[in-house]
Amino acid sequence: MSPFAAVLRKDLRLELRGGNSTLSLVALSLMVMAVMVFTQAEAKSHDAESAAAAIWIAMVFSGVIGATRVLTAERENGCIRGLLLCPIDPAGLYAAKLCAAFIFMAIAEAAAMLMMVLFFNLDFGVPLLRTAPILMLGALGFAAAATLLAAISSRTRAGDMILPILAVPIYVPALIAGVRATAAALGGAPMGAIAQWLKIMVAFDILLVTAGCLLFEYAARED
């Protein structure tokens, strides 16, 4: 078994066993959706833009929590030190942590999409399917940034507060592109209109994943 597979399997096992981070993320997504619907009850609540905004808000919050949990588990008993002492490529270690954070986010997003359809009275159809790859790209990019930054913030006492302060500003360009692409997809816009936003998201994903692979070792070190 490769180190990547071993770390990923361990993270998923920990999540299935004692963790409740995915449940927390789903609950958070539900709460965000509900708050968005009720706060916009008297406005133009049921349009594509509101739905897109709601699901991206849910995604950013769940991403912050998911990445924090994935790294916090490594701080207990100094396990991150144990991992960094092992003869494994830090980039592989980062990739495994990113993959775990992405899986937790993807599950939360799938639940959030279902709630979006219900709360925003959307149809299950082609527009909704077109949002899936946009959200997956968004989840990958945000998980990439949050996993790297969580390696730093989880070492600090106020880590939970620091992570969103660090991660969200870095992700803003991709966030704007993601919300626009999601709104366009839900509104039935042609692929050409969506593609320009997707290019920005893909570029950001590549940038953030590469930065994570290169910098994770230094971010995770405690000395």
Binding site: P3, V7, R13, G19, N77, G78, P87
Partner: protein, 236 residues
């Protein structure tokens, strides 16, 4: 003569403005063991962390297998087994799962078999399916030793290896140290107590006020429980 496994040159470490290690020169040959004795805060753990590549010295340097500890590749990290104050074990995984996980990270061909073998070696086979969260500190210490030694490292770094262990656990730990030396590995163990020297393959150093020097035991210390007990265990 073999090249030293560990070699430090004027190794110094500052925490803020406080010097913890001062110009330490130290060599250890393959197949030899060294006990580093010192009180709380003497810098023993810091020295081990530097040797493991977990911390960078403020000045001077340390070579492990001829490589600078600050730039050790995975190939060289594989040769080091480190048992620290923290066990590096996941509390929500079982003893077996933890060892299997680390065996996989070290690229051992049969992680499960290696885990079972080491659970036996440290007398933890009956607790194989117990979560680490549920076992005692002494048992966790035994598992931590198994984790550090599972890949048969050529350099074994042990921070307080006998801490929290009962007499059976101490006997197991002493046996593991002896086995590591017998297969040609080098061992550096940091301890509070008076050391015991079993044979000529052990050197004993004292770390005091940041300086590392030869240890000369006082009469009352050589008869202290820790020293006498560990010495007898290592002679077995």
């Amino acid at each position: 003569m073999s090249a030293p496994v560990v070699e430090t040159h004027k190794l110094s470490m500052l925490y803020g403005q406080s010097p913890v290690l001062r110009e330490i020169d130290f060599k250890l040959l393959p197949g030899y063991g060294a006990f580093v004795i010192g009180g709380n805060g003497a810098g023993k753990s810091t020295l081990l962390r530097i040797l493991a590549g977990m911390a960078a010295p403020t000045a001077g340097g340390a070579l492990i297998f001829g490589r600078d500890t600050r730039r050790m590749s995975a190939r060289y990290r594989r040769r080091i087994g480190m048992m620290a104050h923290q066990s590096f074990l996941y509390p929500n995984l079982t003893a077996r799962e933890n060892l299997e996980f680390y065996a996989a990270l070290y690229g051992l061909p049969e992680p499960r078999v290696s885990a079972e073998t080491w659970l036996d070696k440290v007398g933890m086979a009956q607790f194989a399916d117990a979560r680490v969260r549920a076992v005692s500190r002494g048992m966790e210490q035994r598992l931590s030793a198994a984790r550090a030694l599972i890949a048969d490292p050529l350099l074994v770094l042990l921070d307080e290896p006998f801490a929290s262990l009962d007499s059976d656990g101490a006997a197991i730990m002493a046996r593991l140290i002896r086995e590591a030396l017998d297969r040609g590995a080098s061992v550096v163990a940091a301890m509070h107590g008076v050391p015991a020297i079993a044979g000529t393959d052990f050197q004993v150093f004292e770390l005091a006020r940041g300086h590392l020097g030869p240890f000369t035991p006082k009469e009352e210390e050589t008869t202290a429980w820790t020293g006498a007990r560990i010495r007898s265990l290592l002679h077995r």
